[in-house]
């Protein structure tokens, strides 16, 4: 397969890197540079606490980015993830308000996201509407439903249990200080980060080691060839969009849980961050190219950049400008490499 994760070991290290590993290395190099620069700028940047904050902030974009990567590899795009995130979070919030326990409520929220994704897949494969238009429609529909269900008002007072997924952490170590107050020795690994790691590993396994993953690549690489080879192209696309919707639902739950409030206005423009993460990570919008590890690096580049610029006191507007340039640069580098 074209993807590096499984390309043969570099025999004799002959400096012949496959295209995608070259891209991944350059992205990784960029990430390292960013971390070094920000560390010099602010000593507080390079600390465990801040590292965990970055991880936590990246979790939502990372989850969306994984779903987006699956869709982009099929040669499509999913513009609806930001809205689906909001809808799923609100549905979960409403369920909790209605007295359903937190875990099943969240499951319902994720299912709503998956249903939105399945609808996208149906419109794209059966009604033959281009992914851009189909998911643009869903972007408006999901946001509209979320706002309609809540009357555009946030749902708050959802209880402590609702906040566990977003705010809890594993291996948190607290000592009692000499003064009697608790002292946090290690803040623990936030649940969203653990969730991201699990989802990333699962998605990479799916893409590289399962038949459906191979078919996702084949569909994006040459849809007609895939169809003639007996690949169920429509089914493959439906699965990709459904997974993207489900992951949007999951990240919606993580985000709302972190805020302990269900916000129908959350997640606006998140789809663009997710696309940026995938593209910075080497995914091609033409389809057939992309991988999870690249997208994770892309998500962390965006996360580190946001965090570092925040700590350096750079305004959110300037951050947008910078990220915009980085997306263009990433695609440009990719093109130069392909022209060689």
């Amino acid at each position: 397969m074209a993807e590096t994760d499984r390309s043969p070991p570099l025999v004799g290290w002959n400096l012949k890197l496959s295209a995608s590993s070259f891209h991944k290395l350059s992205a990784l190099f960029t990430l390292a540079c960013l971390i070094i620069v920000f560390s010099f700028g602010n000593p507080a940047f390079f600390s465990i606490n801040n590292g965990l904050t970055v991880l936590l902030q990246t979790a939502v974009i990372g989850l969306l980015g994984i779903g987006m990567t699956l869709v982009i590899i099929t040669g499509g795009i999913d513009l609806s993830v930001g809205s689906v995130l909001a809808l799923s979070g609100t549905v979960t919030g409403l369920c909790v308000k209605a007295g359903i326990p937190v875990a099943p409520s969240m499951a319902i929220g994720v299912c709503v996201g998956a249903a939105c994704g399945l609808f996208n897949g149906f419109v794209i494969t059966k009604m033959r509407i281009t992914p851009f238009v189909a998911t643009l429609g869903m972007m408006l529909i999901a946001r509209g439903v979320a706002l309609q269900l809540t009357g555009a008002a946030p749902i708050s007072r959802l209880g402590e249990a609702f906040g566990v997924l977003g705010n809890g952490s594993l291996f948190r170590i607290i000592e009692k200080g000499a003064n009697g107050f608790p002292k946090v020795v290690f803040p623990g690994i936030p649940y969203p980060v653990i969730l991201l790691a699990i989802v990333a590993v699962a998605a990479a396994y799916l893409l590289n080691r399962r038949q459906i993953g191979r078919h996702i690549y084949a569909t994006g690489s040459n849809e007609e060839a895939a169809r003639l080879s007996g690949v169920a192209v429509d089914r493959t696309k439906m699965i990709a969009y459904t997974l993207s919707g489900a992951l949007a639902g999951l990240s919606g739950n993580v985000l709302m849980s972190r805020l302990i409030t269900a916000q129908p206005n959350e997640g606006v423009m998140y789809e663009l961050d997710a696309i940026a993460a995938a593209v910075i990570g080497g995914a091609s919008l033409m389809g057939g190219i992309g991988n999870i590890s690249g997208t994770m690096i892309g998500a962390f580049i965006i996360g580190v950049l946001r965090n570092g610029l925040n700590m350096a006191g750079v305004s959110a507007f300037i951050q947008q400008i910078l990220i915009g340039f980085i997306v263009i640069l990433a695609v440009y580098i990719d093109q130069i490499r392909n022209r060689r």
């Binding site: 399962r210 060839a225 007996g230």
Partner: protein, 264 residues
Amino acid sequence: MNLHHAPSSTPLVEMVDIEKHFGGIRAVNGVTLDLYPGEVVGVLGHNGAGKSCLMRILSGAMIPSKGQVRINGQDAQIHSPHDARDLGIETIYQTLALADHLDAPSNLFLGRELKTRFGSLDDGRMMREAVDVLKRLNPNFKNLSDPVSSLSGGQRQVIAIARAIYFDVKILIMDEPTAALGPSETAMVSKLIKQLRDDGIGILLVSHDMHDVFELCDRVVVMNKGKNVGSHRIEDVTKDDVLSLIIKGQLPDDWVPRSQETVQ
């Protein structure tokens, strides 16, 4: 129809009264065609004569508007390329139908991936099998783990051929198999076709190359304006006869089968 096989032998493929309409256009208009085991049949005709359409119907890429397909004398329902493959019908498309970003083994096994007992892809075994079959076709085959987009036209053709013959093929459809090839690769394909024929496989060869047709085929079927205008044993016709069928849709007025000519 010229049946040079023993009457007892069942045709491998019988396509009966096949029609395919696109709006008001009849791309294929009541075509009947058969193919016997161990036979190479050339399917000839102008561009747009309906031959590709007919082949796509047999390979499951297109569903006929009317007509029946029988495989080994049994009615067959071919609704998808998958159905066709299950019946042992393999197709080598002119476009090769390769997924450019995947490597040779992934393309070879596309849609029919080998799996471990845990249900995950068995890439190691697919690579070994691919090396085996590709090296048999072309001993110089290299770069098996590169995306096929980076391979030469000949190598890509070899992958497309390997994909058709690796699995238990009974009926092979070849659409212009040598159009993109150099002389040595063309010779390899010719040798392979003869070998497959000797193994009892039925081959439908779509080609514009008269030299290939007369070298390889046992019989030619000529299509003109969506109809089958002639099915002849290759010994009975000359290149001029075939050209007349292709262009005018009929044999020259003074035509007599050449095999009978020599008898007289």
